[in-house]
Symmetry: C2
């Protein structure tokens, strides 16, 4: 933990700022930048998947043919052709999404900030999965909610557990139905239907955060909850995992009434997402590029995942459990109850292996015997070497 | 005003969201997009000043030589060479600014959002100039402060008026000392010294927002308050007015303790400003480009300002007052008390002329007989034509 965390300023800070702490992931990532570390800690997509040549051509084209528009202030809602592209992309299987529902955001992280701004008051209840995405906890926490953990099993959130007592006074339910960060779990079709049905009766929206949906290894995506209940679901999407995260381009699809409030909040927050990066994304995707490109990412990650699962099978002692993801970037590992993965990490770092302890992903009661492994940026031979070291460290603690 | 402003969602919104309204400027800008309108309403820099060729070369170079880094997630604090460039730029005249004090933001608007997050609680007091920048009011308002207007005169904020009763419990004082938006006023040297002195005794920071500082027509800038009291001033800068706003790259220079909190807030807000746009800005500015480029912007705006002042002199009836800006993008006009500029705008729009009424720039007691004119994007002949029409409309109301 950084010393500066404990230093006070000579000025009075807001309540929310006094509660802010640096995330465990952030501090760990600093250590893992050293080249000798085999890092399963990253949430970064593999740079091998970035379509550099397409980006270069798009950028050149835009700065040649539309430089003034690409460099000038632009509409808070986002670049209209990109909004239209997003709307068309989601208007499949009978669903009809309008461009007027789409707000372009500075990455999906900003979508969480804007939703916190317009939906969350201090002490209002926010429902989250158990565990849930750490970045969402960080973002919503600035608005000082009381978190309520919705029970999950190996398939994700359990809709039947959303009873009256649990949902009383809630402002939103946040979920990642596809290959959730950190667990890699995918919500089955029946549960999506049950949640979409629930959303139509609920006094609050379900936030369907879907950064990994395109990365299902079999290329057989499940329908979104948005497609099942378009007036009752707020859907978040991102180009970070299918193009490149450094452009920071994501989007919110929301009913127009909420969209309008989100636009007002965004205007006060950063006026608009950079005009240039929005246009680059649109230029790259507009003629169907993702349909050729995404399968190459899926294939890469599927192979990396298989290498990780083989290594776990080979090196982990009995008593250690993990899931077999059907897509995405993460495997979730559960150790015997008495092993604290934060302490395990200290030992692992000494052996030049890193992962993310599971504790910080829980809003309330943390399960400290869990950890998240990312397999997307480590070559298979290194995956085996790193998992072998982890297995030995765990075995020594049994 | 948009109808959607009055529509409620079927979900419960936060207190802050219920108070959100669309800005007058925003609604006006929609009307003024029509090509037949002579618009003095814009706050947009002239696209004639965008260094398109430099941007193109920078972008090409970066996507050729450093594509992975430019497209990957990066540090929340910003691109280190750009932070170092900013620090060096401000380390003049004995001042020493460290890169560790610099946080790169998604435009200056985000700097305001982050400062609101870490400094402002509901009902805490925020001191602002009379009038002040509307975008700052919008941004801070999300954190529900009580605004206190600090009295001003034609030279800007009056330091002697910051007495104990006025500053009691304040969390920050927000000021634009150079060619303020909306008034175009520049704070004199003695007042800067008095404020810097005040800041060293105050229990809260002065936020020195300086988007227009480089645009002084004589090329004789006054020293920043940051240079006078680096541990007690938070300085905001931007590349929007000296390069291009569509890239959305700005920065906050703050004492390290506050910097660290701002970084945590930014991590939760958008993770980081796009890697690509930060690198483009750095590539363009790193070898001294601004020293040749900014004088061309100054010369253009100086001529445009002269055309506006000549037109005002020629067409305005007695009883109308305005200032003579020494830099920046705006002239502030005061009409006889009984003329409401919001109503005047309706008549002006019918004649295809637009401006921004002054009322929304006041945090509390608005002076409705004021208006802001921007002269940077209208050709001189059109400036004369537009001001002539305004003059006639005002004369008819005397």
């Amino acid at each position: 933990m950084n010393q500066a965390d404990f230093r006070a300023t000579h000025w009075q800070l807001s309540e929310r700022a006094r509660k802010l702490t640096s995330s465990a992931i952030r501090e760990i990532l600093k250590v893992t930048e050293r080249p000798e570390v085999i890092s399963f800690a990253g949430g970064l997509p593999s740079p091998a998947t970035f379509p550099v040549e397409q980006m270069r051509r798009a950028s050149e084209h835009i700065l040649r043919d539309q430089p003034s528009a690409a460099l000038q202030y632009s509409a808070t809602e986002g670049f209209m052709p990109l909004r239209e592209w997003v709307a068309a992309r989601y208007s499949v299987g009978g669903a009809h999404i309008r461009a007027s529902q789409v707000l372009i955001t500075t990455g999906s992280q900003q979508a969480l900030d804007l939703l916190g701004k317009v939906l969350v008051d201090p002490a209002s209840r926010v429902l989250v999965e158990t565990p849930t995405y750490l970045g969402a906890l960080q973002s919503f926490s600035l608005f000082e909610p009381n978190y309520v953990q919705v029970p999950t099993d190996e398939h994700g959130l359990i809709p039947e557990r959303l009873d009256a007592a649990l949902i009383e006074g809630a402002r939103l339910l946040y979920a990642q139905p596809n290959f959730q960060n950190p667990t890699g779990r995918r919500l089955p079709l029946e549960r999506r239907r049950a949640l979409a049905e629930f959303a139509q009766r609920a006094a609050f929206p379900i936030i369907e955060d879907d950064p990994y949906g395109a990365l299902d290894y079999a290329g057989a995506p499940l329908p979104t909850m948005l497609s099942m209940a378009p007036d009752h679901i707020v859907h978040l999407g991102s180009f970070s995992k299918v193009l490149a995260p450094g452009l920071r381009v994501g989007y919110i699809i929301a009913p127009e009434e909420l969209h309008f409030k989100l636009v007002q909040a965004k205007q006060a927050t950063d006026l608009h997402t950079p005009s240039l990066t929005q246009r680059i994304v649109h230029e790259v995707v507009k003629d169907g590029f993702l349909d050729q490109h995404v399968p190459t990412i899926r294939a890469l990650y599927r192979d990396q995942c298989a290498a990780m699962l083989a290594a776990l099978e080979h090196h982990m002692p009995a008593g250690v459990e993990w899931n077999r993801p059907e897509g995405g970037m993460f495997v979730w590992v559960t150790l015997p109850k008495h092993i604290d993965t934060m302490k395990l990490l200290e030992a692992a770092i000494e052996q030049h292996v890193a992962f993310v302890p599971g504790g910080p992903f829980f809003a309330n009661q943390a399960e400290h015997n869990t950890l998240r492994l990312s397999f997307v940026t480590v070559p298979p031979a290194k995956i085996d070497e790193g998992v072998a070291k982890l297995g030995a460290l765990i075995r020594a603690r049994l």
